[in-house]
Amino acid sequence: MFRRIGKKPPYKKIQLQQAVERKREQSMDTLKDRNLTASLDENLQTMKEILGHSSDFVVREFQISQDGVNAAIMFIDGLANSTLIDQFILKALMIDTGKEIDANHIIQYIEKQHIPINEVAESGQLHKTVGAVLAGDTVLFVEGSEKALFLNTKGWEKRGIEEPRTESVVRGPRSGFSESLRTNTSQIRIQLKDPSLVVKNMVIGKRGNTNVAVIYIKDLANPQLIEEVESRLKAINVDAVIDSGYIEQLIEDHHWSPFPTIQNTERPDKVSANLLEGRVVILSDGSPFALIAPAVFTQFYQSPEDYYERFLIATLVRFIRILSMFFAILLPSLYIAFSSFHPEMIPSRLEIAMAAGRSTVPFPSIIEALLMELTMEILREASVRLPGPIGQTIGIVGALVVGQAAVEAGIVSPIMVIVVALTTIGSFASPSYSAAIALRMLRFPMMVAAGAFGLYGIMLFLILIIIHLCSLESFGVPYMTPITPYNRQDNRDTFVRFPLFQLKRRPSFLNPQFQYRAVRNAQEGMKDDQQGSQTGN
């Protein structure tokens, strides 16, 4: 009955159309059944049909040294490193090769004795050949061989390792991920030189064929979690993974929720720490943002800096962050509720001053608040687009100037400007951009609720948010763990941050294979060693 309302075509019809289209498409899938032949000319012909339309597709025919065997290499100019091709393929094959070789075994011979390239593969399948060329390898065809040799010559321009732009810390490593998958995995490897660290590759995206790496520590992460992540990745379908955000949106548990259930980060140290707790990380080629699954709510106001500083500072800073989160979502609504519905809550003198301030304002306080908040959001979006220092300045100065001018024009009251400023600053204090956005967006409906029912409305909406939060799960983990279901051990690291040597266990909700971390401070260590030597070892 409900389906007639939207008049969307029923799902079966969509499936049919998709199948029809699939047949006509010329993506990689259609090449799956074809193989190479032993004839060099035929292979060249096939490849030119498929890729010859692009000018950066290079075909170099040559003869292998003194044998005079015909061969050809193909690569994409720009993806393949020319130096490697010249020095280690062409030179090696054209100049340095000696002896007579049997045509049948020539590929293996070359592979084993004549090509000083570190990564080689061979295949007779067409789609793999095309895939290799598009990935930046150089493909070697030899007359008489049904298989082609793929030589790793990947080398293209990439951005170097820079400081992550969205997550700066005062103390801690300053390198961030870049767009190259191998560079990113290398940064993680530098921090975790553990043989159990697994980097599994998957290719996702029908047209993008993006390399996606699933990373975890084999004997820490829960096997069920690993399997869940991998099966979800296998199950999704997308044209191309241009950024890891695509993957996030396709594998997440609750797409309707404003709250993210998968974390993203640009920082390798955050990734390493999460891997050590037993989480699974997804890196996709071309995106500096790594995905961390599962994610719970408490992670969104925790920053890696919390662990590099000493525990008292870290705890206090966390409290400030939590406070600012509350400001970000509640402050404007509280202002509306107090000034329109419950003025008896405000101290008498302040109330008279506020009434005086508001006497020139033509709007009710809810409109005033909505107006100012919307303006702040616009300013913020604008400042993101503007380059460098100009953007920052516009953001802050713009807000102040606009606020002051609005007050003097009699459009808003002075208290409103303070409220808006505190709210905005409060939302900046959250280390996770995705979660901060959720709170920012939620304050608008809360303002409406406050405008309708005052404090009662705020409470109702807050209860609705709490119900929603409690119903979320991320890869099987309840979102509000460890606040609820309460776990005393895990709570050593939620609001407060207990000293490092007391955080002895990994988060239990991840069900890691080994519960205890290796952590021990010097005092405990020396005492243990002493006792060890006393009891005689």
Partner: protein, 381 residues
Amino acid sequence: MTNKDPRQEISPRQSASIIASTMIGAGVLTLPRTVAEYAKQSGWFAVILGMIIAMAGVSIMTLLSNKFPRQNIIEYSQEILGSRKYKAVGRWLSYPLLLPILGYWCVVTVLASRLFGEVVVTAVLPATPLEVIISTMLLIAYVLTFYSVEVVARVNELLLPLIVVPVLLISLSSYQHARLYHLFPLRYDVDWSDLFMGAFSAFSFPFLGFEVLLLFAKYSRHPSVLLRDHVAAVALPGFIYTLIAVAGMAVFGVDELKRLMWPTYELVKVTKVPGLILERVESAFIGVWVAAVFTTTANIYYAICMFIREMLGMKGHRIIATILLPLFYWISLRPPNIQALINYLTYSGCAGGIAILVIPTLLLGVSYLRKKGGKGAAHDA
């Protein structure tokens, strides 16, 4: 998010939270007066006695649930009263026995929302229509019925400290206006029958709510430790209620207390939180109290839906919830004025209190006699 997911589990702490937060609800506001009517200035002692009665009730129910782990009361009462051959006998015998509980729950949900609405209309939002306030509260409770038992448990676990801490703080700071002599003489003009009447009246409205465990205990992960947690869960509201009763009496004295409609609210109005930004804390208290009433209403609403679902053998309870919503709304508007409302509450509270104590005891007794069910504590997940 299905309702019958077999893997749903509640931890003991969550089970205790459900009990405690269901108990702390609309009854908080009138408590000091209702006990003072019977026990005069020793009303607070009646509260303690009421708590003991509630603990007894909870213990009986927990023992009963422990004997039949992974079953709710509908299921095991059939087993207790029925015979294995004819399932129908069990059903026919047990349903009439359980219906009073169901009826009491419906009445309480409805009247509690109405009471809540009355307070809000009188003291917080005078111009807002009562219907709107009641319907919004019922709507939010309705929303909770969409989710699984685990979500209900988590919501309760999260909200409980948010409710308890402010209430404790406020009731403690109201002691600055307390006058000790209002609490005396202790026993002179009050005899035990007065105290018990007071205890029972305390038990009937403010203390009831723990019986939802009859339905929620089915999902408990560790039935064996439940007794300790459940009794503690009753002790928490008991402690808070006692504090409030003492505070109310000490600040106002018997005569004034009897005149006040919502003594706890007045207590909050007298509280001065020195130096803080908020001069009057009563709106903050109302905010917290909204959460308290919500947990009461939503939990019992959920329990009713589970109850009816079990009785009718349905798979999901969304339809039940949707039908009940307008029904509850309509019933809540029946009492013509506030005095009538309080009368209805008192009667239904009495009837409910008796039902809650008698019926599980009956079932427990019969189950021992007929040797039904497991050993209780020995049964674990």
